[in-house]
Symmetry: C2
């Protein structure tokens, strides 16, 4: 009980005359309150100063376009403070940048009076942080032309307006620009600072504006020349897996969810069945995929569909639109009169790819018939393989080519080719100073034949690759991938010239197999059924000809689809197909060719129902819009033409999305975290 006797802490309401801790705390907090109030008052005061600002008399571009007519006029201009030069205490030059980063005008402030007297505009022009948004009031004055170098037409840099400058009367800062943000013309900002990148990197700004103009042109051209109207289709759709994994959107009806569409495919087919004759939409689409190969979880496509139309009608319409688009937006580029066409089988055999980059040359040929039997048996573990060969003209000096080969083979890029289970590539270098021109491995006869067939020159690389003797499936063959890798590597090493940015090699690839063995492609959620077949594109694609229809019963893997891809410079811009417009036929494909369960077929009940109601034949296409714009501008990544792209992990690093769901949010949707297994 002794503990109860210990000294009591001072009472909260003690009346001793000296200040206790509580008093100090109260006074302290009152001081803090006073400081906070002062701070608030000051920020409100600062904000008030920026509430009323004069509208601009004109933009800098307007001033630039006819500068002399403005001389001696009073103007108000909006913009950002740029580089400054303080000549002396009485004379300051500063640049004013406009918002579009295209024009700069020089602002001059000179104070002739006693330099000790206060000139707030003068001081502000001298002292404001660069990049501060301001309103400038002043008088337009004639000016000696700037040095010749500055008026050069480099479109990526803003142009300084020659001939006039602004004599400063007043300047009003409209916001602060913090000292801790460092911006130079070369700064590459982290994705968290996307706003600074867009603000200071003219190439991104230009790409976004280009993108806007492309979308307007495509809409207008399809409407004015081909009778399309734009129809908006729902984004809160239902889960009907036809390819990639779908994002779900839970509803407050517990256990129920919408799905975000991978494309407007089903709704546009419903529109065709609804008597719409020409549908188009620049549509947002969603895929919850692992983001390999420069893909985004949300992307935009130019989507179109035509009733009473065949594959030919769609290809003609798209080809015309693409040509008109290039003519309008890239007038310097020359396109072939009609885009060449190639079947899938031809593309795969000649280029080892279903989206061949025909600019590269290096066509692939089958050569197993001309090779010595022992060579064929040596180049890989396969018995009776197909053997293919291609030439890559790396250099005209065999030594350079040999060095290139060994560098390449030591690089990580070569790893997948060396470990190819069908055998690694056999590489020779043509060299006239060596026996059989360096093609000894081939034996005398084959070496001679190859030299002639491939028109071999000194320094040419000759690549030999075996593959299984089977029909093509999938998007590429190892030798096709190697073709691209060797060219890319040689470009990086400056052995091959970079691509001409004005060179656009379009190509239609057609006659894809309608189905692919499920084992070839990585199994996507919901694709295919129980028969081991997967739709190569989607299960709504029609067989190409009557003969292909007949193959469905006996040899569905041999049936060709009425599908077509538009390929440009080795990039798939988009694809389309004639669709199955007959309900019974569609159900037959679902059930008997793909082996879908009743439940899976039930997911498509709405589609079968609308096809049943006298749906006309129809065909359509979708062009990847992000990719289209990127290729037009020669950008490597779609991220360069999207204002706010997601990272490789699907995150918007600037706003910080996605975020952790709160308990309350989960509760709203009747959900909780799954128990760990």
């Amino acid at each position: 009980m002794a503990e109860l006797q210990r000294e009591q802490p001072p009472s909260r309401h003690a009346t001793n005359w000296f200040l206790n801790d509580d008093h100090l705390r109260i006074i302290n907090s009152q001081c803090l309150d006073a400081a906070t109030a002062l701070r608030h008052q000051s920020l409100l005061t600062d904000f008030k100063k920026t509430l009323d600002f004069s509208p601009a008399t004109c933009s800098l571009a307007q001033l630039a376009s006819n500068s002399t007519q403005w001389v001696d006029k009073q103007v108000t201009l909006h913009g950002y403070v740029g580089a400054r030069r303080v000549a002396n205490k009485t004379l300051v030059f500063a640049e004013l940048h406009d918002m579009s980063l295209t024009s700069i005008i020089q602002i001059v402030s000179s104070v002739t009076k006693n330099v000790d007297s206060i000139s707030r505009p003068h001081d502000l022009l001298r002292d404001l942080e660069q990049h501060t948004p301001v309103v400038i009031q002043g008088t337009v004055k004639g000016r000696q032309a700037p040095k010749a170098g500055q008026s050069s037409k480099d479109e990526s840099k803003p142009m300084i307006i020659a001939g006039v400058e602004i004599k400063l009367d007043n300047i009003t800062p409209l916001n602060a620009f913090p000292k801790d943000l460092i911006v130079t013309s070369d700064t590459v900002f982290s994705p968290e600072k996307r706003h600074l990148q867009i603000k200071h990197d003219k190439s991104i700004r230009d790409a976004l504006i280009f993108r806007s103009k492309v979308s307007r042109f495509v809409r207008d051209h399809l409407a004015d020349n081909h009778g399309f109207e734009e129809f908006e289709t729902p984004l809160l759709f239902k889960s009907t897996p036809e390819g990639a994994r779908e994002f779900l959107v839970p509803t407050r009806n517990p256990g129920f969810a919408y799905a975000l569409p991978q494309s407007p495919q089903q709704y546009k087919q419903i529109l065709m069945a609804s008597g719409i004759s020409r549908y188009m939409q620049i549509a947002r689409c969603f895929r919850d995929e692992d983001l390999r190969a420069d893909r985004q979880p949300e992307f935009t496509q130019v989507d179109l569909e035509m009733a009473f139309a065949s594959d030919e009608d769609v290809m003609r319409t798209v080809e015309d639109t693409v040509k008109a688009l290039w003519e309008k937006m890239l007038p310097g580029a020359a396109l072939s009169e009609a885009f060449p066409r190639m079947t899938y089988a031809e593309a795969m055999s000649r280029y080892g790819s279903d989206k061949p980059d025909v600019r590269l040359g290096s066509e692939i040929r089958r050569v197993e018939y001309m090779l010595p039997v022992d060579l064929v048996s040596k180049i890989g573990p396969l018995s009776d393989p197909i053997v293919e060969v291609m030439k890559v003209a790396i250099s005209d000096d065999p030594a350079t080519t040999r060095k290139f080969v060994s560098t390449f083979m030591d690089s990580p890029e070569a790893a997948s080719f060396i470990s190819n289970p069908e055998g690694q590539p056999g590489i020779s270098v043509c060299d006239s100073r060596k026996p059989l021109q360096g093609l000894q491995t081939f034996g005398f006869e084959a070496a001679e034949q190859l030299e002639e067939t491939l028109d071999l020159q000194d320094g040419d690389l000759v690549v030999l690759q075996a593959r299984k003797n089977a029909a093509f499936a999938g998007g590429s063959t190892p030798i096709g991938n190697l073709r691209l890798a060797l060219h890319r590597f040689a470009c990086k090493q400056a052995l091959l010239p970079p691509h001409d940015p004005q060179m656009f090699e379009f190509l239609w690839v057609t006659d894809f197999p309608l189905f692919t063995p499920t084992s070839i492609e990585p199994t996507e959620p919901g694709q295919g059924g129980t028969t081991g077949l997967t739709s190569t594109h989607h299960p709504f694609t029609a067989p190409k000809t009557a003969a292909d229809v007949d193959l469905l019963l006996e040899a569905p893997l041999e049936a060709k689809g009425a599908h077509y891809d538009l390929v440009l410079n080795g990039v798939e811009l988009g694809g389309g197909s004639r669709r199955i417009h007959n309900s019974l036929m569609q159900e037959f494909i679902f059930r008997h060719v793909l082996g879908m369960s009743d439940e899976r077929v039930g997911n498509f009940r709405h589609l079968l129902e609308v096809l049943r109601a006298g749906c006309p034949p129809h065909a359509g296409m979708a062009l990847g819009f992000d990719r289209l714009v990127a290729v037009m501008l020669g950008r490597e990544s779609v991220r360069d033409v999207i204002a706010f792209p997601k990272s490789g992990r699907g995150e918007d690093l600037m706003v910080g999305a996605p975020t952790r769901m709160s308990d309350g949010q989960m509760r709203t949707y009747g959900l909780q975290m799954a128990a760990k297994v």
Copy 2:
């Protein structure tokens, strides 16, 4: 052990000579297989016949526009079989409808030969189900002009092409039209059959095409006349509740989700901070709300934002665009030179609504000063109320008006007004044959004053309503709602004429209070903070004037926001505001005015960060696009201008969305159903 001796069942491989059950089963299933195979073969055969069909020579519209030039030409036409008339065994007439439901041409088939001989085209034309999609081949023939009545220009009906008809050579059906679907010109289909409604209801088709043209015009006008470009902003955004509840999109990172945006508000502000000068987007937006009042969980808005701009700049731009849009799309309508403006306080006091329908007249006035004290105390439970009065000119016959009043008061529409806790409305009918013109309740003096002020005539309805003596808050007052209800009811009873569809009364409503007491509006998730204040629109709205900034510290409820609504015929088309462009000011509003927690403020870190980086002043607006199109076309519901609207319960009844999440889907997203509490 006796049981082991029981008779063995017949062996599966028993060789007895008679057929056992197994045999029957096998034979049966072989027959079934054969039947199935036959059925499959037949459906494939049918499908093959529709694979190749000839392209159309021209559309019916092209044929109609210059029909004589086609006479005696062979043509191929696409369309749907319409009404038929079988004159006799050798002569059939049928209509061919085009896809756009605008033109019809007559097809004639006559067989001159022995009628027993087979003429497949003739038989098909006679027998095909109406609405079957077909290819017609035939010869254009001159034709006597049809009866005068048929060429009348009723745009809602397709027009029969006069002067020519098609002599049938061949007809190919491209799909079946099932007999169980009954379609007449008046059928109203259930939402499950939206495709049939779109196909057969020309008014919906026309609305969707009109919608497409409106969106193109708005884009083009903003680009060509005001320098806007369209920027696409992400739909996979993050949860930052600023108003309505957001839909969430779970990711495969367990517990993490994107949110679908309520509007591109934050991204467009980021674009302003990124140096973009004029942003626009026709953007999809999402709200997980209870769908009162003709709202959709996903909707489209015309969204725009301008840098270095004030509220006036935005209002001018939108007003110009809207006027140009009306001029282009509704050339008959006359709009006022400049849209009138009205403050929120004025709109609430004169019309009892923040989106007044000024077409109705019936202005509201305060009259408590002129009423006898005992009357004021009688009309409701409030002490010292505001009392308002309005006149509704129902009829010029007092008896008719009295009947209207009693019908209205007995209707469900009146219930909320009768149960108004601030007192029920006092209703009198002006009647010169009664003492004090029927206004006895008001007493002699007030009755006389009222009669003069309201310019009362026989049969006018006079409505008196009390309300609390307090500042306006929220969107309407009871008397304002009663004003609308009485007019609506009188229109339904044909006592007031329907609105002139060419009459468009635009109005800007401005000077809204920046904040609303949280108790006034139903609490939305995430709105407001701990101070009992909610942003009237959203927390990014700037105070209107310097005086309003000062009010933030002491009397925030009195501060006006730089917000403006565009109202048309009593419908809010959209709203916008000048935004807070200063990071410190924005944080001050979040923390100190709204009382948001650190966590809530943290949600907006990205916004504070971009405002901090020298963001210029900016202002913008969003117009509800579905609503805009509906009002332009005089449609009651946005559902009439959306291709695939959701039901009142947020369902797409045609495709059947939303659906139950499968266990696999839940597992993918690390979720499970919450345990029942």
